[in-house]
Amino acid sequence: MNCLESQAILQRRLDGAAFVPDAELEQHLAACAVCRDRHAAARPLLEALRVQPPPVLPPWLPWRIAAAALGDRQRRRLRLRRSLTVTVGLAAAIVVMLFAGYLNRPTSEDGKVDHGPFVQNPQSDVKKQDALQPQSEKPHEAQPPSLIALSERLADKTLDEAKVLWTAANPVEGMPMGELPAVPDLDPASQPLRQAKQEVNEGLQAVGRSAQRAFAYFSHELPMIELPQGR
């Protein structure tokens, strides 16, 4: 028997197995002082652990724990209720603001209600149909000049670079650089961008008017807060 086998027996005994005499173990213990001392200490250790008194609970501790647990529960419920109240209040305020904004929604000059960009109405359908029509039919003067200028600059630059590349890739005798077959007009490509910008502008204007009226309404209705003197 070696020390590992001796330790395995020791662990089994500490797990609760009976201290059965074992000749091989005795022989090993006679030769190994460390194992002998460990085996010798095992039984007193178990005995001491068995008879040691359990830690005595203070008599007031259970009551204190129960009171603390109940108090903690009440505090948590109160916190939850408060956060719920705040959430519901915020939601109600948002609903009221939306409703007020709806009541004070902007109207066009002819007295009809402007539904804004997010409501389906016949006018927007007409606009969409216009957008689907060939882009070349729309005059350039109707688009914002800066956007047109930007698109044209980009188109010109791209065209120049394309010419250089085309000439380098397909050299034609007698044809000076820059004289290439006609390149289609790139303006129609920028039409959807112009259209989108216009629609976004219109939508933002409607939202801005609504927000302005809502703010004016609330600032008019709410009482003024008087600041303390000296500020």
Binding site: Q7, R36, P44, L45, A48, L49, Q52, P55, P62, I65
Partner: protein, 185 residues
């Protein structure tokens, strides 16, 4: 899981004060005993017991009802003790004083061997100490210790094996083993 535990937990979740007191009464000895042995400090153990039960009641909804309740509570206790020890290490001056005064309380009128065992257990690293106390003092089987510590049973056995050898070696070095004790029955 026993039907009693399930019923008790359900009543606690409904906020029944009597059920909460009963749950505390059922497990307070285990929690307090483990805390005292792990912290070696009565006042700290009392505070930790209170924290443990607060956490138990707060997280009772997350308890897996397919598993026994006791290892779950003991696992919370071990974690809280570990956190407490970490926090205690950050305020050494105050705690050293309290620790000295409390050590005399812990070392009650039990024998010298018991005091040596407590000192040996106190010197074990946290994992070994937890396993040793849970097995030898709280009487939890390997499986429940493994559940409490969220470790495999093999790891728990290894830790307990090493903890026992360290305790036995300490007792041997401190001369707590008499020559007569070598005799096997």
């Amino acid at each position: 899981v026993s039907a009693d535990d399930l019923l008790l937990v359900r009543r606690c979740l409904r906020g029944d004060p009597a059920a909460m007191e009963r749950l505390v009464a059922t497990y307070q000895a285990d929690v307090f005993g483990l805390s005292v042995r792990l912290l070696h400090h009565r006042q700290d153990a009392e505070d930790v017991v209170q924290e443990v039960f607060l956490r138990v009641f707060r997280s009772l909804r997350r308890w897996d009802s397919r598993r026994p309740l006791r290892p779950w509570i003991m696992g919370i206790t071990v974690n809280r003790c570990r956190t407490w020890i970490t926090q205690r290490a950050r305020r050494p001056e105050l705690v050293d004083y309290l620790h000295e005064t409390a050590a005399r309380d812990v070392a009650d009128n039990s024998g010298e061997l018991t005091r040596e065992i407590h000192a040996a257990v106190q010197d074990l690293r946290m994992e070994y100490r937890s396993v040793f106390v849970l097995y030898h003092e709280r009487g939890l089987p390997y499986e429940e210790i493994a559940q409490a510590l969220r470790k495999p049973v093999g790891t728990v056995k290894t830790w307990l094996h090493r903890a026992r050898l360290e305790v036995l070696d300490r007792l041997r070095k401190r001369g707590m083993i008499s020559e007569v004790g070598h005799e096997l029955p």
